[in-house]
Amino acid sequence: MAERIIYATYEDDDVLKSSAKKLVSKGVRIAEVFSPFPIHGIDPIIGVKNTRLGIMAFLYGLTGLLLATVGMKYIMIDDWPMNVGGKPNGTYLENMLAFIPVTFEFTVMCAAHGMAITYLWKNKTLPGLPASNPHPRTTDDRFVMELRLSENNKFTTEELEDMLQTSGASELDFKYVK
């Protein structure tokens, strides 16, 4: 099915925010907002759910902890027991203190890299991916609201256009997706 998308451009984030509030209260669904910086308080208005990145960070961290422990147990104890400064090297537990800094660093590294990659992947902004913002100026000084007609069956195109224009949008663009 062909999809019709309206891009409403705003010149001020406050105008966009109040306009989004008005539109949502009338029952319009806003698919996405593009902005050069995070607009404080826009998430609950357009219905973005709380991020679950924190849970993923915890899981990545746990992975790092596990990998570091298993790796050091094998490398430093089982495969080739190393005598560093005469520290006990019979079991992992006896020498645990020496391993904690590495475990900590590896946990942090896995959590941080995992989080960054997940974030870029979910935002479709991994290096090399094509830009998904409708207008280059949304990385500079314009704020764009995306409305999909298939999600707004209750309204006609004219009604939506009218609402957007009266709410302060400086420019309206249309796009057809096959």
Partner: protein
């Protein structure tokens, strides 16, 4: 709405203090009978030092927190500013308790707490003789008086300007606070370390650690954040602090979480480096503590580290008042235990035990602490006016 001490809180603090006095007297009498009262001065002054330093530490750490907020021109804290000032309001009493303790110890020639105050011991100890310039009664008192005078002057200055700001407003006072906060941080950066060396580290007079000051300071800071979060939740429950919403609670919860990590990090850094280098003059500190306080010492570390980490990790937990109070109370006593082992590990050693005197003095000074804080909260409106960032704090969202 003006804050008034409720009947329950009034009764609670009086019972705490009365119970504390009774337990302390029982403890002193028991100690007099034990071993011909040989350990009485040591145990009594040790306990005085633990509790006066612990509660003084909470007050000075909240004054530090306030100065930090001034110096960084933070906005979110404005809604709980009077809570921070309330906790810092214990400072004059904490200073008083500390000075009484030091006077008692000095008059008893160190009371086997500060061995370097005892001339008989110094005569036969070359290591202490080498530190005689720094660790002498006169210089110790000069330093102590300099620290507490500067702390108190800053406290009274901040308090005066905070109350004045309610009336006159404007940004002049704000920038003055900004400057004063920054200079306080400079003083505190040095004094927090040196005062920890003087007051606590000199108990283990042969031992030294450059990291010790930060370790002690992070413990005080963590406890101060716990007291702030519990006090804020208590006042919210009574219907005060209408401007404080769950976002502010979340932020204080984050501080508790973060500073617990700072403390654990410093504790571990000190322990691991000394364990790894394994130099006898450095390991004595841990050898005595592991010999006499093994369960308490490691138990205290695990509680203070694992409880906040596991229970306060998620976002929802930091917004849950019951969980914050539960973790807070446990870690509060965990840090008291830390101070207990710092002092008793170097002085009483194998003779130390938690009895009537320990519990009594803790209850007595805890009761006084709560009472003084609540009283200082009644002296000014709980909601500040005219702070330049007030509006931003009200709309704070995380």
């Amino acid at each position: 709405m003006e804050f008034k001490i409720t009947k329950n809180a009034n009764l609670f603090t009086i019972i705490l203090m009365a119970l504390g006095i009774v337990c302390t007297i029982v403890g002193v009498v028991l100690e007099m009978g034990h071993d011909h009262g040989h350990h009485l001065p040591q145990r009594l002054s040790g306990n005085l030092l633990i509790n006066s330093f612990f509660f003084f530490g909470i007050a000075i750490a909240s004054l530090f927190f306030l100065a930090l907020k001034y110096a960084t021109e933070t906005a979110w804290y404005v809604a709980i500013k009077r809570v921070i000032e309330g906790v810092a309001g214990f400072l004059p009493f904490g200073v008083g308790l500390l000075l009484i303790t030091f006077a008692y110890i000095t008059l008893n020639d160190g009371a086997h707490i500060y061995l370097w105050m005892d001339e008989e011991i110094v005569k036969h100890d070359e290591i202490i003789q080498g530190k005689a310039f720094y660790l002498s009664k006169t210089f110790f008192w000069i330093r102590t008086l300099v620290y507490v005078t500067i702390y108190l002057l800053y406290y009274w200055g901040f308090r005066k300007r905070s109350l004045l700001e309610d009336q006159v407003g404007g940004t002049e006072l704000h920038y003055k606070n900004y400057k004063k906060g920054a200079t306080f941080l400079v003083f505190f950066a040095v004094f927090s370390s040196t005062s920890a060396w003087d007051w606590i580290m000199s108990i283990d007079v042969h031992w030294f650690s450059t990291l010790f000051g930060w370790y002690v300071f992070s413990g005080m800071w963590c406890t101060a954040m716990i007291v702030m979060v519990i006090l804020t939740l208590y006042l919210k429950r009574l219907g005060h602090l209408e401007r404080v919403n769950e976002n502010h609670i979340h932020d204080i919860g984050k501080w508790v979480f973060a500073i617990s990590f700072l403390w654990s990090y410093l504790w571990f850094s000190q322990f691991m480096l000394i364990w790894f280098a394994n130099i006898p003059e450095e390991t004595t500190y841990f050898v005595t503590r592991i010999a006499h306080f093994k369960v308490l010492y490691f138990g205290m570390f695990l509680i203070n580290f694992v409880f906040p980490m596991v229970l306060l990790m998620s976002r929802d937990a930091k917004r849950h008042s019951g969980l914050l109070i539960f973790v807070g109370l446990i870690v509060f006593f965990g840090h008291w235990m830390d101070t207990y082992i710092m002092v008793m590990g170097g002085s009483m050693g194998e003779n130390a035990s938690i009895g009537f005197m320990e519990i009594g003095l803790l209850l007595l000074i805890l009761g006084l602490f709560v009472r003084v804080i609540l009283t200082s909260l009644t002296k000014a409106p709980l909601d500040v006016k005219n702070h330049p960032y007030l509006e931003e704090s009200i709309h704070h969202e995380v």
